[in-house]
Structures are given as C-alpha cells and as structure tokens.
Amino acid sequence: MHLSWIDYAIVLVYVGGTIVAGTLARGAIKGISDFLVAGRGLKIHMAVATMVSTGLGLVTVMYMAEEGFKYGFVPFVFGLMALITTVIIGRTGFIVSRLRHLQVMTVPEFYELKYTRGVRLLGGIILTLAGTLNMGLFPILGSKFVVGFTGLDKEYVNYVMIGMLLIVVFYTLMGGMVSVVLTDFAQFVLLALGFFFGTFVILNHPQLGWDNLVQAVQVHKGDVGFDPIANPGYGISMILFLFCVGLVGVVWQPEMMRPLSAESPKVARRVFWISSATVMGRAMVPMFWGIAALAYFGNPELDPHYAMPEMLGKILPIGIAGLLMAGMFAAFMSTHDSYLLAWSGVIVRDVVSPIKAMFAKSSGEREADGTWGGLSSEREIYWTRAIVVILAAFLAIFGALYQLPETAFRFMYVTGTIYFAGCVGTVVLGLYWRKANTPGAYCALILGALVPLNFLIMTENQHLVPEFLLPLVENSNLVGITSLVLGGLAMLVVASLTQRSHPPRPLDFSNME
C-alpha cells in the first residue's frame, strides 16, 4: 500500500461530506425541473464549476494520461482544438443560446419542438445507446486508478468499482441535479488542488522534470511523439475531427445540462466563454502525467491505466497523496453523477414518457410543469431514479467484461459520435437552417449512427468486412469524420427533396437574449 492513514482520512472526510450534501439536497427537489436542471437557477460561477467538474472526470484523467503515455506530446493538440471550439461557442453562443432559449431540458426534447415526437423517440434511443456505451468504461477506469494509486492488489479492481458506484448512486438518487451541483463545486476546488500539487511534484522530482520527460518521449516515441501531423495515430484527419466534434460535442447531454440549467441564454453563453480558459489545462495536465509515467518507469509496454496512478502513488508525499486521491475520487463522482442523471433523464423524458404519451393519445404540447403529456412530474422523478440504479448495474457488468479495441480515448470518441453525427443534421441544421424537416432528421440520425456502430461491432469481426470497407473498421479517425459528414449531408439532401410533402416547423428566436 502506498498511502498512509492520513491520506485515507482525507478521502473519508470528503466522501462523508458528499453523502451529507446529497441527503440535504433531497429537500430541494419538488418537481422534475428541480431534479434534472436544478430549477434552471444556476448562476455563472456555479455553472462553470459544475461544467468543468463534469468535463474533468477521473475517466478523463485516465484516458488523457493514456494518450500521453502512448503518443507523447502529440495529444496536446486535443487541448488546442478544445480551446478553439469553446472560444467559438462562448463568443457566438453557437447551439447553446438557442437551445437554452427554447427551455428544453434534454436535447431530444428539441426534436419534438422542431420535428415530431417520433424523431424525439428515435433521438432519445440513439442518445441513450451512445451515452451508456460511452460511459461503459468510466467505472472500471476509475477503479483502476484507485487500485494503482493505493497499491491494492489488482484482483480487487471490480470490488472497488462496485463500492464507488454505490456511493455515487446514493447521492444522485437523493438530490438529482441539486446535489450534483453542490458536490461538483467542492470537487472543482479539490481537483484543481490535486492537479496543482501532482504537477508540481512531477516537475520537481529528480527522475522527472520537463527535460527528462521530453527526453523520454524522444527515446521511446521518436520525432512523432512531438509532431501531431506526422504522427500516424493523429494527423490532419484526427485534428479536423477533433475540431468538428468540439463544436458539435456541445450537444452531449451531460455537458449541455449546465447551459440548460443556467438562468438565461446569456448566462449559458458566458459559462462556455469562461470555461474555455480551462479546457487546455483539463486535457494537458493528465496527458503530462501520462508522459511522466513513461519517463518514470521507462517501459512503454506497461499498462498505462495502472502506470500513471502507480507513479503518482509512489512519488507524492503523505497528505498530498490523500488530497489527490480525494480530488480524483471527486472527479470520479462528479462525472458519474452527471452522466447517470443525464442518461436516465433522457431515457425517461425522451423514450418512456413519449411512448406513454403516444398510447394516451395526448396532444403533444408542453405543460406548465415541463412534462409532455406522458408521465407526470412525480412519475418522471421516480423512473429517473429507478433508471439511475439500472444504469449503474449495467456499467458494473460492462466495465468488468469489455475489452478495448483501441485506446480508451478513441473508444469515447467513437461511441460519442454515434450521437454527435446525427446532431450535425438534426440540431445544428435544425437550429440554423429553416428547411430542416422531419424526414431529414430521421435520415441524419440513422446514417450518422451507422458508421460508428459498424466500427464497434465489426472491429471484432474484421474477416467478414469487404476489403474496400476495411478502413472504416480499422481507422477510428476516418470513422469519426465520415459519420459527421454523413449526418449533415443526410439532412441537407433529404430535407431539400421533401420540402413540399413535409414543410418544416418554424422556430422563433426573435426575442432571445
């Protein structure tokens, strides 16, 4: 074991505090909008803190570190692309302002406003599929960090994962978005402290330091460890994909819940503007730690999921190790609670409730409490809580059994693209192109999802794939770009051809802040 009792005490104090906060927050939940978007009362600084915390989960730290360990300094380009795209969104309010103006709680809800209930149902199903697959590796990677960092035997990795999931499920069930926001704020501060001290120790460690890290990358990776264009794992296609997905990725429900919870479209836009300054650090610090693990152990064949936390566990002094552990535990919880809430909210509001509304033959109008004629507000909360539990059980099983085809980072992006690709046509064009209509939306969602789904399934069965299609099961960069283009083209072509038979529904943004 690498840690002392002082380190464990710090972690226990933090976990105890979050459980108390979750219990307290239960009193603030009076309806579905309280539960899912905290009553839409988030002010700028809380919204920024909670958004940064969600975007910086323990899983993010793990897969970013893995990229650094495997590709050297090249993945830093991801941080640059993230900066450029969030600045664009923050300055222009691209997507964010218009969705907040429409007062939706989930992105598929927009589909019912702009298209039909059927599109919302399909969008909800695809988003749920993409979201739960995307989240599938979160618990196991978090657990690997704890096991590597504490020096526990690796055979305990599944038990640690289940224990951590139980804590997250408890306080998400208690207070929904209110408890998520409260705990995210504490996690935001703790994480930043962990980042600072972790990086400080690495920079001042006799075996590490900036120059030693550069040398280690040069020795183990060569020139392609520095040049993103020359690196075969990155290149122009990956850079372009990162840029596109950075813009469209804003519709990812756990990210979008913050701007949708903001008190106005103007605040939603400013949340992105302020948080844009943090996106590079959020990506580059863990990547830097991954490179440090490569330099520390000097063996590129090690499992990077264990190498980085093992290195930190060995080099950090008592107290700082506990602080970092609490910060990382916080990071684990901040992402899981948000994602569990986001996906269960989508399943209930965009799949279960619309089906019930269809059977009840309701009018399809939004009611004063934010429901749409399907489940009542109380039943939506009940089912959201039930699905949080079911999702957590699925994650535990998936995490224990699934084997990665590429790095965790690539897996996250491919699974996310199942949904992002359709969003190019349905959300981006739906918000900014007057001709976007229902047949176009169906085609965009289906065609956009096909390529990444094909990648995930057929990478295990490459012998069945015709030779000319092999690049689409071998190269995740190509998969990402192709599906984004297909999603956009599908809407443009199909909507243009069906304007007369399916006239588009207009949306009014004239009085938007």
């Binding site: 307290l24 309806g31 002010k43 600084h45 209110v178 409260l182 520095f226 650090g281």
Partner: protein, 59 residues
C-alpha cells in the same frame, strides 16, 4: 515545423494552459462560494430549487 520547434511550442502551450486553468479555478471558486452558501441556506429552509431560482431572478 521541425521537432525542436514542436518541443518548445508544447512547453509554452503547457505553461499557458496551466496559467489559464488555475487562474479561472481561483476566480470561480472565490466568486461561486457565495452562490453555494445561498443554495445550502435555501435547502436548509426546505425551498425547492425552482422557487429559489424564481426568487433570485426577482431580486
């Protein structure tokens, strides 16, 4: 760009990323603390999140 230029470039980018990140964290933590305290007070008073948000917008 040659490799040496990339090495220097990444070093500067990393420094800039760190400064921006910690700068925003300090500013947001300082300014957001009051909002968190208010949220906890509202919860202790048994007020729903929507009611608190409506009160806040009236102010």
């Amino acid at each position: 760009m040659d490799v040496e230029t990339w090495k220097v470039f990444w070093q500067y980018v990393f420094i800039a990323a760190s400064v921006l990140f910690y700068g925003i964290v300090i500013a947001v933590a300082y300014k957001g603390f009051g909002d968190v305290a208010q949220m906890i007070r509202n919860m202790a008073a048994g007020r729903g999140a929507s009611e608190s948000a409506a009160d806040s917008q009236q102010e």
